[in-house]
């Protein structure tokens, strides 16, 4: 039978693409934080290139441990206390990520279309639907992701193609007005955006093969990177150097669209496609948090945890960022900042070191290889 209950490489790629690109296109390039944006496209490319080996590191670790999930790997390599600590940190990280995504899509609706509606309405409804999807497991998320990723990609391409009449290529010049040095920070902040894909280490057990895990991850990183870079180029070409000051640059881009004098502004179409993308990305994160929590609590099933975690994400989304300005400042530190990179890189380093030490000591470092061979 062609239909497998496992996640295929393309499905994984779609899930990771949505996880990253939906939020990224909402916020970039303003989130990177740079006075002028002419050279930002280079940061996008370099950030993608740097993130590839880091993602490969995650995949290699998962494959070496028999495609087990990161919580089980941590507990196996670091012992119950160390492993559980890492596990709970991941749960917290995914919860904050969920809260961030919820807040961002809700802010987009609030700012773009319905300023009088309380933000909690957007957040609660999105969380409810996403938790409903997450409760059905990664198989449903993966199956849905294929079509939704395609739609989001098409929508993004339209967003970039349709305002071509207002594109001014001279806005891209001079390419590096202040040299290459100011690009270091944007590049450094672009990398952690890709590290959010660490959720792949939770999806690994459901993969058809380790090769598929690698293919899906690399595919999603490359496509996300290409979209990110293209978007930066188009936004800069349309709005000029001030594009980094725009709150929702991609949304502003869609406002420039006019088709045949009949449809003036298409930002809603974009926001709707973002709703699909972020809804599914949120479902992925909630599923990861619930599955990790279930492992840590010794529960047989994760389903009962999904809705409470969704509620918690809504609560965090409101309490962590009391107002928009506060949110804008914090997002760089939370999602695109060093906190994310340091946490994920530290975990990867510790796990790799523990694995190396265990192998050296002749321990059960290869215990997980069985799953990969199967």
């Amino acid at each position: 039978m062609t239909i497998t209950h496992k996640t295929t490489a393309r499905q994984l790629g779609s899930v990771l693409f949505l996880l990253r690109v939906a939020t990224m296109t909402l916020t970039l390039p303003s989130v990177i934080g740079m006075p002028s944006s002419q050279g930002l496209w280079l940061a996008g490319i370099v950030g993608t290139v740097i993130s590839l080996p880091l993602l490969a590191w995650m995949v290699t670790l998962s494959r070496a441990e028999g495609l087990d999930d990161v919580v089980r790997i941590s507990r196996r390599l670091l012992g119950p206390i160390g492993g559980s600590t890492v596990g709970w940190l991941f749960v917290l990280y995914w919860l904050i990520l969920a809260a961030f995504e919820l807040r961002y899509i809700s802010e987009a609706y609030l700012t773009g279309t319905m300023p009088e509606t309380p933000i909690v309405v957007f957040m609660a409804l999105t969380a409810l639907v996403s938790a409903g999807i997450a409760r059905r497991g990664i198989r449903l998320i993966a199956m849905m992701a294929e079509l939704i990723a395609f739609l989001v990609l098409i929508s993004l391409l339209l967003t970039m193609v349709l305002p071509l009449d207002v594109v001014r290529l001279r806005n891209l010049l001079p390419v590096f007005p202040e040299g290459l040095q100011p690009l270091i920070l944007p590049t450094a902040t672009a990398v952690p955006l890709f590290l959010d894909m660490v959720v792949l280490m939770m999806i690994a057990p459901s993969m058809t093969s380790g090769v598929g895990l690698m293919q899906g991850t690399v595919w999603s990183a490359l496509v996300s990177g290409a979209v990110l870079t293209l978007l930066i180029v188009v936004v800069t070409a349309v709005f000029g150097p001030i594009s980094t000051a725009l709150e929702l640059p991609a949304l502003s881009l869609t406002r420039m669209i006019s088709i045949g004098g009949a449809v003036e502004r298409l930002e809603l179409i974009t926001v709707v496609s973002w709703t699909f993308g972020i809804g599914l990305a949120l479902a992925t994160v909630l599923w990861a948090a619930a599955t990790a929590s279930a492992h840590l609590l010794g529960l047989r099933c994760f389903e009962p945890l999904v809705y409470p975690l969704g509620g918690l994400a809504v609560f965090l989304g409101i309490r962590m960022w009391p107002d928009v300005s506060n949110f804008d400042k914090s997002t760089t530190a939370i999602s695109g900042g060093l906190v994310t990179s340091l946490f994920i890189l530290a975990v990867l380093a510790v796990l790799t070191a523990a694995r190396w030490l265990r192998r050296r000591a002749g321990g059960g470092g290869d215990s997980g290889r069985r799953g990969e061979t199967e």
Binding site: M114, M144, L147, T275, G279
Partner: protein, 535 residues
């Protein structure tokens, strides 16, 4: 004292046995199982048993006969009037029995002689159980009872009034066969047999319904249909325990995967060509006696957007029609809610002259756009329902007059705006573009949900609703096959027959998610593309 007690006990025992024997040999209440009592050697007792089982029904015909040399053998022919072909009974059963002149020694010899040589009907069964004899009569068989014989002969001479095959009204096509299923299961199976002249077409029959004992046939092509799915269908049918099955819809609800979902996970059709196509794709059909609607399983969402005609027309036309249907489906689901969202929350999406025109039309309308749409939608549903129920002669006329008069009057009365009438009418037309009625009803139902979502949260409500709907559809399964396949999950090889209908020569293989081992549809050299241009 002891003798008296023993005598009393014996009397009670005898009464108990006699009481059990004399109980009507009808359907055992509740279970529907035979009581297991054999036929009596006494002909009159057997006739009495059958008459009692039917409660003295007026349509029960008992014809007593005398056969053998000098009429030494007593016999009876029992059947229900209206369920048998009278000519067949007279010519093939009564006549041979009465003309039997041999002097046969035992009742079993009489039965064998009748069975083997004299009764000129195609199917003759020997039945020894009294309950089964009654059931055979109820099923329309003609039963021959012989005095002193503990076995009866049940002859298949069924014949009753039935309509001839005609074009299905619900699945009319421009191109393709004009023949549809009828209410007779046997005629329906013969239509399939005629189209698939291969012994691999297996038809398994069973009776379902404790009281109605409706004949249900499960058809599949051995080697193409997946054994696991066949077994799953069998097992679900085995679990059906219900008083009556009068229509395939009842059975559908009893065996479907997600009974609470508004979406049908078992398709149905009145067209033999569509069922044949499904069988050759590896699906299973269930034919229920008494209804022309045949069930198809496993079903996928895309099946509801396709018709037989797509495959009979050239692939360009087939593809265009499918896109039109998808557009119709989308419009029928979302058009009113998009209108509500745009006019209530997102006016900036429309050019200023258009939004001003809409605002001018809505001026003086006392209701918000949501209630305006709701009123019109409800009126439209009422007119549509009335149009179906009214006699055919006046139905369409009343519907047209109703729509025109009501719509015009509503505009003049200032209850609704002209643009709303256009939106609702367009939605109504679009909803008729969905080929499958059961899906169209689900969409009609969901349209109201989306109306409410758009009225309260604009495009956000619609987007969240669509996401939830897509999640629901993707989570559905039909007999182990994902409902949204081959879109979710994407199955590349099957995408040739979804939105796009690829040319026949490109669809070399059957849907791999359905078939067992015989997955090749097209043989080598069947492609017409090579050389056509050269000729």
């Amino acid at each position: 004292m002891g003798k008296k007690l023993l005598a009393r006990l014996l009397l009670r025992l005898t009464r108990a046995i006699a009481g059990r024997k004399s109980a009507p040999r009808g359907l055992a209440s509740g279970s529907g199982r035979p009581d297991g009592a054999g036929l009596s050697p006494d002909l009159e007792a057997n006739i009495e048993g059958i008459v009692q089982a039917f409660g003295g029904s007026g349509d029960l015909v008992v014809r007593r006969l005398r056969a053998g040399r000098s009429g030494s053998v007593s016999a009876a022919v029992v059947h229900l009037e209206g369920l048998v072909d009278k000519d067949l009974v007279a010519q093939c059963i009564i006549r041979p029995v009465t003309l039997m002149t041999e002097n046969l020694a035992s009742p079993s010899e009489v039965l064998d002689r009748l069975c083997d040589a004299l009764l000129s009907v195609t199917v003759v069964d020997q039945i020894a159980d009294a309950h089964e004899v009654a059931l055979a009569v109820a099923e329309g068989l003609c039963v021959v009872l012989i005095d002193s014989a503990r076995t009866a002969l049940a002859c298949a001479v069924q014949g009753w009034a039935q309509r001839s095959p005609e074009e299905p009204t619900t699945e009319a096509t421009v191109r393709g066969p004009k023949e549809g299923f009828v209410e007779s299961l046997r005629i329906n199976t013969s239509m399939l047999r005629r189209r698939i002249a291969d012994p691999r077409l297996h038809i398994e029959e069973r009776r379902l319904g404790r009281v109605t004992r409706t004949l249900v046939a499960m058809a599949y092509v051995q080697g193409i249909a997946r054994p696991s799915v066949i077994q799953e269908v069998r097992s679900r049918l085995d679990k059906v325990d219900v008083d009556s099955i009068q229509e395939s819809g009842q059975l559908e609800e009893l065996i479907m995967d997600a009974p609470l979902s508004p979406f049908p996970t078992i398709a149905r059709s009145e067209r033999p060509d569509r069922i044949v196509g499904a069988l050759l794709d590896g699906r299973i059909a269930i034919i229920v006696d008494g209804t022309p609607f045949v069930l198809i399983m496993p079903a996928t969402f895309m099946m509801y957007l396709t018709t037989s005609e797509d495959y009979f027309e050239l692939f360009y036309s087939g593809t265009l029609i499918r896109f039109t249907r998808l557009l119709a489906l989308t419009l029928s689901l979302l058009l009113p809610s998009v209108y509500i969202a745009v006019t209530t929350f997102h006016q900036e999406m429309l050019p200023t002259p258009l939004i001003l025109s809409i605002a001018a039309q809505r001026e003086g309308i006392p209701f918000p756009a949501f209630f305006e749409a709701l009123i019109m939608e409800i009126m439209f549903e009422l007119v549509r329902e009335a149009g179906i129920r009214l006699p055919r002669v006046i139905g369409p006329a009343i519907s047209i007059v109703g729509v025109l008069v009501l719509g015009d009057a509503a505009i003049r009365a200032g209850l609704v705006s002209p643009i709303m009438v256009i939106v609702v009418a367009a939605t109504g037309i679009a909803s008729l573009g969905t080929p499958e009625f059961s899906l169209a009803i689900s969409i009609r139902l969901l349209r109201f949900v989306f109306l409410a979502a758009a009225a309260s949260l604009g495009f956000f409500g619609i987007a969240v609703g669509v996401l939830a709907l897509y999640a629901h559809l993707t989570a559905l399964e039909s007999f182990g096959v994902p409902y949204m396949s081959p879109i979710a999950p994407v199955i590349d090889s099957e995408l040739k027959d979804t939105m796009v209908r690829a040319p026949w020569w490109a669809m070399k293989q059957r849907p791999r998610s359905l078939v067992w081992y015989n997955d090749t549809r097209l043989g080598q050299g069947s492609s017409g593309k090579d050389g056509d241009g050269e000729r």
